[in-house]
Every structure is written in structure tokens, then in C-alpha cells.
């Protein structure tokens, strides 16, 4: 069966290319046959004319024979397809307004879908840019219950894991670092990373230039080596291959450059803005095994051996965790180890919002399809006679269907092509407004995958809306259509149209509700009081290299010096320093002990977020002092140690007692509580506020080399940036200042992701509202035009204009209400699905539901009011004269 089908196909394929020559053969063959028949009849005694006629009669219709042969020898569908295509182009060109409307609607739908899909694809679907990425996992320390949250990894724990596991072919640690590059123009801060020597091998990355780290370079030593990112090599250094083997000065130490990463390398766990420029072996400066197990500076990557199943690997990790827990109870008690696939790790935070966006834009596309289907239906009505004539002339229904489908596919492909243009423009714009915390945006582009997707949805939409008129033409009898004047509203057709309108309204309502809920959440988010005042505040970070600022004294001297100078700048009201700016995404928790309370059970402790700050910080950033005092310059290194706590911490640990004057200790140092300040949203605006404690920079044992300078200005904060820079370089020429931003910009970056999704969804829903109302308008308009004669008669026999208006609007209202009911159901389901994206709004927020329903109903009624008005303006005489 297969073979014979194949042979037929081959014969047809041959026919496609070799027709002319074979046709000639065939003609001679027929001619000969006829000739012989004629001869035979003549021999039987007929006259030549009679013989000719008899022969022709016996042989049959030569034309239809030729046709059949042609059909058998050519690929019929391709051949007729060409004809259909030419015909379609003619039809569409004749009807420019119609074609324009359809193509534009489709282009909007397909363009928006393509643009969002390209983001979705780049972030969620594309395989990670590493070798066999599905075998790479990240390993996390899992805190003891009840917290159970995942934590970065202590250096010594990493060393133990690597030594004791069998499931992995490789394991590597990744830590952060900051470097100041000097000797190449202005001193510049470079984001750095410290990695195990096997890190790039594990990922399967080949260097653009030079080589990977050697294992012997990943231990304490004096010959420091570094690998540079492609952009650092190009922008900061010469960009020439001779860079290999030369030394660069980083934090006043010499590093030999051994390799340069390829330009497309991306550390997928970091955002696009946060890619390291300098990579150094992590054990170059530190003894990994001697670092405290209480400090967790590393992220750990591992490659699972191909034959090891995930659960066996996890079982092995569980055993090791139990061992480490009993060996080092003070830091590891109750802790587990959790493996998460790298891909899952990268996408876990963005999957939900992006999926919601893709769903939203898909709904928009559906509405556009419904509209186009409606337009096609109207046109099919106008073309009924054409179709009937063609049917009567002997076209098969299949051929007609093929013709209609060709037309709609042509439309959808035109729409798709235009949509692609729109999408590529949209991606350019999107690229600028995409939230900073989306990973993997470097992969964002219109590539083959996106093209394939666009082609696919174009075809799918073409078939989807092309089917509607097809479905109709099936049920029609050619005879009847030819007889009737197009004056009766066809039952089936009206039904389908009504269904389309109801669907459009329902989908538009779902989109509007989603957008409404997100917009309300975003509004709430913007109006969360962050606990500080953002206006007129400028922030900037400095990096103090260990070489020139080896100890607390030197750092403290720099800090008081810089504050002194900054405060004397014109336009500055106050200035302060902090280690971790709120909403910066950086935080650190410390355990503390309250004096005079019974000890807690082993393995548990009181924990609060800990932030070293300078005098002047609270008033500068606008954190209110509730009671007691803030820090002053009197709180020097030699003065009694003090601490300021926030309201949350007071409530949690002291309740109604007054904590001022009480003592607590952390980092092994006892401190007196001298003040209470207001709570701050440190992690995120939508998160809970946490217990926090502040200590002066001068009284902390560990050095803080990357403080943020915060200044409150009386003038435009942007205007003091240059002064700030001068003040810092006045103290130390080799200190770069980076991340110079106003606090407003800073907060705006922190809400960029919710803003992005809200804006987009609102845009989609407005577009949906417009398209859906155009759809309603079109349908009502059509219905009215079909009934014009009826209206004329009714007016003539005494109906008032109001009667007619009410009649039309009643029909519209039925559709709108049906759509709203369906839409509310859909919205409720959607709202439940996006609960995680909402803030300060319940998923079934009645206000939002009612408001968007009313809005949609009003717009839809307005859209049907215009054609209804037309119905009332009918002049009975004119309409009746149509007869």
C-alpha cells in the first residue's frame, strides 16, 4: 500500500516536470487509436464521415480524457493551489479595505504574541548555553526546619561535599568578589567572581583565548591568575590577543591573564547587568577548609554523572548532610542538602509572570481571530451568490473549501508577516523596558525558533478563522441561495456570529480582570510606605581595596573623611553610609543572644538582619527614630558598644518591655540598645518587614569594603553626583564610584518586574477591549443592515424610533450579558491562577470585577448603539424602494 502510494507520487512528480513531451506522445496515441477505429469502420463499409463520427462516439470525450490524465499525472493540489492563490490575491486586492482590516487585526495579535513568545522562549525555553545542561544542578544548604529555606554554601561544607560524593563527575563553587582595576585609564570597579578551577570545564565552556584554570592554581599561593570576560577584555583592556600572559592590577595585586571567555558566555544565575568581568580561582587567597561553616559565601554547581538517577544522588546528599550535621552541630545541625536542576533554578521566579503574560497575549490573539472570523463571515454572506454559482457550474464542495481556506491562509500569512515586523520593532522597545531581574535576556532575538512559532500561529489562526465561513457554506444548498435575495438573516450564521461576539466579550473580560487585578496590586505596591523617604536622595557605592584599607581603622578614617567632605558640598542636607541599601537585594542575618534570658536549645538561635551604618544614616534616608537616639561620632571604636533595633525586633523580642538600656550580644560582642527606629521593607516592597539591628561601622569587627554613600539634598539629587565623585577622588584618586543612582531610580528598579507585567497586561487588555468592541460594532451593524427593510416596514406601520432602538439594543444586551457571565467565570479561574502575583488585593476582589464588567458593558453598548441609531434613521420610503 505504502509502496504503491509512493510510486503514484513519484509518477506525479515526474509528471510535474515532464508534461510537454509526454503530452505529445499521448496525443499521437489517441490519434492512432481513432485512426484505426475509422479504418475499421470504413472497411465495414461506412462512409468516411460516418466512420469518423462512429469512431469518436466509441472512443468518448477526448478533452475529459486529457483532463483526467493531467489530473493523474500532476500533483492536483499543488496545481489547483496555484490557481486558488492567484484567485485569492485577486479577490483580496479588489477588496482593499477588508484586506487591510483583517491583516491589521491579525498583525496586532500575531505581532504581540510573537514579541512575548520571543521573551518567553529566551528566558524559559531555550536550553541553557552549556554542554548537556540537563545534567547540571545547583546544590544548596537547606536550613533546619521549620525554616527549611535554601542557603548558599559554607566553604568547608563545599569541600566536604566534593570529597564525599560519588554521584557527580564534577562540583564547583562560585563566590562573588569586587575588583578595582588600576593602570588602565580611570580606576574602574569590575564585578568579579571566584570559582573552583573546574568551573568552566563543568559548564563545558571553551575559552575564546588562552586556557581554563589549572587545578594547581586553585590553592593558596602568590602567583595570581585571572580569566577575563570578553567585554572586559574589549572595553577595559587592549582587546588584543597579546593580553594573554600579561599582568593586570586588581585591588593593587598583580594577576596574570590566562584566558578570555567567549563573547556569548553568560552566567545564567545572574541577571544580564550582573555578569562578572573578572574570574579568579576561589582558593587563591583563602583556605577554603578553614573558613567558618557559619558563613555562606558560595553557590555550588555540580554535574551529575549520566547514569546516576536524580533520587539516588539526592539520597547520597542526605547521608552526607546527616554526617556533617553530627560532626559540626554548631553550624550544621538539622541542615540538609538540596539539589535543584540549574534550569529550574534559573526560571523559578520568572516562570509565573511570563506564563501569565503569554496567556494574556494568547487571549488577545483569540479575540483578534474571532474578529477576523466575523469579518470573513460578513464577506461570505456577500459572496454567497458567487459560491452558489460556482457550485452550480460544477465546482465540488471540496474545491470551494480549498479556495476559501487558501484565502484565509493567505490573509493569515500576510498578517503573520506584518506581525513579525511589528514584533521585531516591539522587541527593540521591550529590550529597553524589560525588568532588570530577568535572566538570560542576551538570548532575546527573533531567530529561527521564533520564526517557526510565528509561522505556526499564523497557519493555526488562518485555519481557525478560515473554518468559520467554511462551516457555513457546507450547509447551504446552491439552489436555495440562488433563489433568495440576501434579505433573510440566516439562522445558522447569526448563531455562529453571536457565539463569536459572546466569546470575544468573555475573553476581553478575562483579560481586563487580570489587568485590573495586577494594576491594583501594582498601585498598592507603589503606595507601600517603604519605611524611608525616597525623594531627594542620591546613593553611590565605593569599593575599598584590602591592599590600601587593610583594617577597620583605615576604613573608619576614610568613612569619616568622606562624610565630612560630602556634608560640606553645596546642596547637601545630610549624608550617611550603609553596608546594605534597602531593596538592593543584599541582606545578611546574624544570630544574637539577649543578656539575662535563659539559653535557647542547641541548634536554635535568635536571628535578625544586621546592618552596619554610619552616624547620619537614619536621618539621611529618612528612617524615623521612634525612641532613644541614633548613632553619633561619639560612638567610636573605643566607646561602649551600642546597637539600634527596629520596631519589629522590639515587638518580637521585648513586647511591652522597654528595650532601651538592655543588652544583647552578637559577633561575640555585648552591646547596649540605645535606640529604636521604624521598620524598613528591605527585601521587597511586597514582603513582610523583618527584625533588624543596626551597629555603627566603627564598632564592628569585620571590615565592610563596599559601603554605599547616601546623601539627602536640597537641590535635584542628580546635580550633586559630580561633587560626590570629586569628594571621593579628593581622598583617594584610585577609588572608583559606581552605581550612582537616586533612591527613586533605585526603588523603581526594584519594582521593574511587576511594573513590566502590569503595563503589558494593561496594554493587552486595552487592545482587547478595542478589538472586541470593533467586533460587536461590526456584528450589530451587519444585523441592522440585514433588517433595514424590516425596520422600514415597521416604521411605516407605526413603530416609533425608540421601539427600534430598544429592539436592537436588546439583542446587543443579550449578547453582552452572556459574554460577561462567561467572562466572569473565566476571570475567577484566571484570578486564582495568578494569586501569587497579587499584592494587597484578593483574587476575587469584588471592586475590580464589578468595575471591569461595567467598563466592558459600557464600551460594548456604545459600540452597538451606533448601528442601532442607524436603524432608527431609516427612511421607510427609501428602504421599500430597494425592492
Amino acid at each position: 500500500m505504502v509502496m504503491s502510494a509512493f510510486r503514484k507520487m513519484m509518477a506525479k512528480a515526474r509528471g510535474l516536470f515532464g508534461i510537454p513531451e509526454k503530452n505529445a506522445d499521448f496525443e499521437t496515441e489517441i490519434e492512432d487509436h481513432l485512426h484505426m477505429l475509422v479504418n475499421r469502420y470504413i472497411q465495414q463499409g461506412m462512409t468516411p464521415e460516418d466512420a469518423h463520427q462512429a469512431a469518436r462516439r466509441q472512443f468518448g470525450n477526448t478533452t475529459s480524457l486529457r483532463e483526467r490524465r493531467r489530473e493523474m499525472q500532476t500533483v492536483a493540489t499543488i496545481d489547483t493551489f496555484g490557481r486558488d492563490l492567484r484567485y485569492s490575491v485577486r479577490v483580496l486586492r479588489r477588496n482593499r479595505a477588508f484586506t487591510g482590516a483583517v491583516v491589521l487585526t491579525l498583525a496586532l495579535g500575531i505581532g504581540a504574541t510573537t514579541a512575548i513568545f520571543s521573551v518567553y522562549d529566551a528566558v524559559l525555553l531555550k536550553p541553557l548555553p552549556y554542554a548537556d545542561p540537563e545534567h547540571i544542578v545547583m546544590l544548596w544548604e537547606k536550613k533546619a526546619p521549620p525554616s527549611g529555606s535554601l542557603d548558599w554554601v559554607a566553604a568547608a561544607n563545599f569541600v566536604d561535599w566534593r570529597a564525599q560524593t560519588n554521584s557527580f563527575s564534577d562540583m564547583a563553587a562560585l563566590g562573588g568578589a569586587n575588583f578595582i582595576l588600576t593602570g588602565h585609564g580611570e580606576p574602574a570597579r569590575l564585578a568579579g567572581a571566584t570559582v573552583s578551577s573546574s568551573f568552566f570545564r563543568l559548564l563545558g565552556i571553551r575559552m575564546e583565548l588562552g586556557r581554563n584554570f589549572l587545578d594547581e592554581e586553585d590553592r593558596l599561593g602568590k602567583d595570581f591568575v585571572a580569566i577575563l570576560s570578553y567585554s572586559a577584555w574589549q572595553n577595559r583592556l587592549s582587546g588584543k590577543p597579546e593580553v594573554l600572559g600579561t599582568t593586570v592590577t586588581l585591588n593593587d595585586l598583580s594577576y596574570t591573564v590566562v584566558g578570555v571567555l567567549p563573547p556569548d558566555f553568560e552566567l545564567v544565575t545572574n541577571t544580564s547587568r550582573n555578569q562578572p568581568d573578572v574570574w579568579v580561582p576561589s582558593a587563591q587567597h583563602i583556605d577554603m577548609q578553614k573558613l567558618s561553616r557559619g558563613s555562606h559565601p558560595f553557590r555550588v554547581f555540580a554535574r551529575i554523572k549520566p547514569d546516576v538517577p536524580f533520587n539516588r544522588m539526592q539520597a547520597e546528599l542526605d547521608i552526607i548532610a546527616t554526617n556533617l550535621s553530627s560532626l559540626y552541630p554548631e553550624n550544621n545541625k538539622g541542615k540538609g542538602i538540596t539539589a535543584v536542576s540549574l534550569h529550574k533554578q534559573v526560571i523559578q521566579n520568572v516562570r509565573m509572570p511570563l506564563t501569565a503574560l503569554l496567556g494574556g497575549v494568547g487571549l488577545l490573539l483569540l479575540i483578534a481571530c474571532a474578529n477576523v472570523a466575523n469579518l470573513l463571515l460578513s464577506r461570505a454572506a456577500a459572496r454567497r451568490k458567487e459560491m452558489a454559482v460556482r457550485l452550480a457550474l460544477g465546482a465540488s464542495r471540496r474545491r470551494l473549501a480549498q479556495q476559501l481556506l487558501t484565502e484565509s491562509l493567505l490573509l493569515s500569512l500576510l498578517g503573520g508577516a506584518t506581525g513579525l515586523l511589528l514584533a521585531s520593532a516591539a522587541i527593540q522597545i521591550l529590550g529597553r523596558y524589560l525588568p532588570a531581574d530577568l535572566p538570560r535576556l542576551s538570548a532575546l532575538a527573533i531567530d529561527l525558533r521564533v520564526l517557526a512559532f510565528t509561522a505556526l500561529i499564523s497557519l493555526a489562526t488562518g485555519i481557525l478563522f478560515g473554518l468559520a465561513p467554511l462551516f457555513q457554506s457546507r450547509r447551504r444548498n446552491a439552489n436555495e441561495t440562488l433563489k433568495q435575495n440576501a434579505r433573510v438573516v440566516g439562522g445558522v450564521q447569526a448563531g455562529l456570529r453571536n457565539a463569536l461576539v459572546v466569546a470575544q466579550i468573555a475573553i476581553a473580560l478575562v483579560l481586563l480582570t487580570g489587568a485590573g487585578l495586577l494594576a491594583k496590586s501594582f498601585w498598592n505596591l507603589l503606595h507601600v510606605s517603604p519605611g524611608f523617604r525616597t525623594e531627594h536622595v542620591l546613593t553611590a557605592r565605593v569599593t575599598l581595596p584590602a591592599s590600601r584599607y587593610p583594617d577597620v581603622e583605615r576604613i573608619a578614617a576614610f568613612q569619616s573623611d568622606v562624610l565630612e567632605r560630602v556634608r560640606n558640598l553645596p546642596g547637601i542636607q545630610s549624608a550617611g553610609l550603609t553596608a546594605y541599601l534597602p531593596l538592593s537585594g543584599i541582606t545578611n542575618s546574624w544570630s544574637f543572644v539577649i543578656e539575662g534570658r535563659p539559653p535557647l536549645p542547641v541548634g536554635t538561635s535568635n536571628v535578625a538582619d544586621y546592618r552596619p551604618v554610619s552616624p547620619g544614616y537614619f536621618e539621611t534616608i529618612g528612617i524615623p527614630l521612634v525612641r532613644g537616639r541614633g548613632f553619633t561620632s561619639a560612638d567610636s571604636e573605643s566607646a561602649p558598644r551600642v546597637v539600634v533595633i527596629n520596631e519589629s525586633m522590639r515587638r518580637k523580642h521585648w513586647g511591652d518591655e522597654d528595650p532601651i538600656g538592655r543588652r544583647l550580644s552578637f559577633e561575640g560582642l555585648p552591646r547596649t540598645i540605645v535606640g529604636i527606629v521604624g521598620d524598613v521593607h528591605h527585601q521587597s516592597l511586597d514582603g513582610e518587614t523583618k527584625a533588624e539591628m543596626y551597629a555603627p561601622f566603627t564598632q564592628i569587627p569585620n571590615t565592610e569594603r563596599r559601603p554605599t554613600i547616601v546623601v539627602r539634598t536640597s537641590i535635584d539629587p542628580g546635580a550633586v553626583a559630580a561633587g560626590l565623585r570629586d569628594a571621593v577622588s579628593g581622598i583617594d584618586k584610585a577609588l572608583p564610584l559606581d552605581q550612582v543612582e537616586t533612591m527613586e531610580q533605585f526603588v523603581s528598579t526594584a519594582v521593574s518586574e511587576p511594573r513590566f507585567r502590569t503595563l503589558l497586561l494593561v496594554a493587552f487588555s486595552i487592545l482587547a477591549l478595542v478589538i472586541a468592541s470593533v467586533g460587536i460594532y461590526g456584528v450589530m451593524n451587519y444585523l441592522v443592515s440585514l433588517q433595514i427593510r424590516e425596520f422600514g416596514i415597521r416604521l411605516a406601520i407605526g413603530a416609533t424610533q425608540g421601539d427600534l432602538l430598544r429592539g436592537v439594543l436588546r439583542r446587543a444586551t443579550v449578547l453582552i450579558v452572556a459574554g460577561l457571565c462567561l467572562g466572569l467565570l473565566g476571570s475567577a479561574m484566571l484570578a486564582r491562577a495568578i494569586t501569587d502575583l497579587l499584592y494587597g488585593v484578593s483574587a476575587l476582589d469584588p471592586l475590580t470585577f464589578v468595575a471591569v464588567s461595567l467598563l466592558l458593558a459600557a464600551v460594548a453598548l456604545l459600540a452597538s448603539y451606533i448601528p442601532a441609531r442607524r436603524a432608527t434613521r431609516v427612511d421607510p420610503l427609501t428602504t421599500l424602494r430597494y425592492e
Partner: protein, 99 residues
């Protein structure tokens, strides 16, 4: 039928096949002879017959069709099928008759 004809008489041209069918069916099957060519083309596409140019009895160039190996196989298959079916129908008819 064409296959059977070609098997029995060897290579033939279209006119010959038409005559043979006319003769065998004793003019019971009165078809337009042109349709023979459609069938010939179909059989050719299936690969059951092959065509070759030769000279006809009255010295004209003509296309001669002959049966191929796979055509013979197909003929055998169809013959058994037909015999089975006609056998069954025959038995059924006989049963009817006995009633």
C-alpha cells in the same frame, strides 16, 4: 481485465487492448474506449505494466504495453481474491436456491 489481456496476448497497443476487451466481453461491457488509456496510465503508475515504443502491424509507431513481474503478482492476487469472493457468492446463491 487489462492485466489478464496482457498476460494472455503479450505486449499490445491501446487499440489492440480495446479490441480484445470488446471481443472477450462479447460487447457486454460497452465503455468509451478512451477510458482504456486512463486505466493504462493508472496501471503504469502502479508499476504493474510497462510501456515501450514499437511498430504496429500497419507499420506505424505505436506504444506497446506489457505486463511486469509485479503486475503478474497483482494479477494472481486479484484472481484468488475474485475466485474467493465469487466462490462465496456462489455458495450463498446456492443456499438461497435450496431453500
Amino acid at each position: 481485465m487489462i492485466l489478464k489481456t496482457l498476460e494472455a496476448l503479450g505486449p499490445l497497443h491501446g487499440f489492440g487492448i480495446a479490441r480484445r476487451i470488446e471481443q472477450v466481453s462479447e460487447a457486454v461491457l460497452k465503455l468509451n474506449e478512451g477510458t482504456v488509456y486512463t486505466s493504462l496510465l493508472r496501471l503504469q503508475q502502479q508499476g504493474w505494466i510497462a510501456a515501450d515504443w514499437g511498430t504496429s502491424e500497419n507499420n506505424r509507431k505505436a506504444k506497446f504495453y506489457s505486463i511486469t513481474k509485479s503486475g503478474l503478482k497483482q494479477l494472481a492476487r486479484e484472481t484468488t481474491d475474485w475466485e474467493q469472493i465469487s466462490g462465496v457468492i456462489g455458495r450463498v446463491l446456492r443456499l438461497e436456491g435450496q431453500k
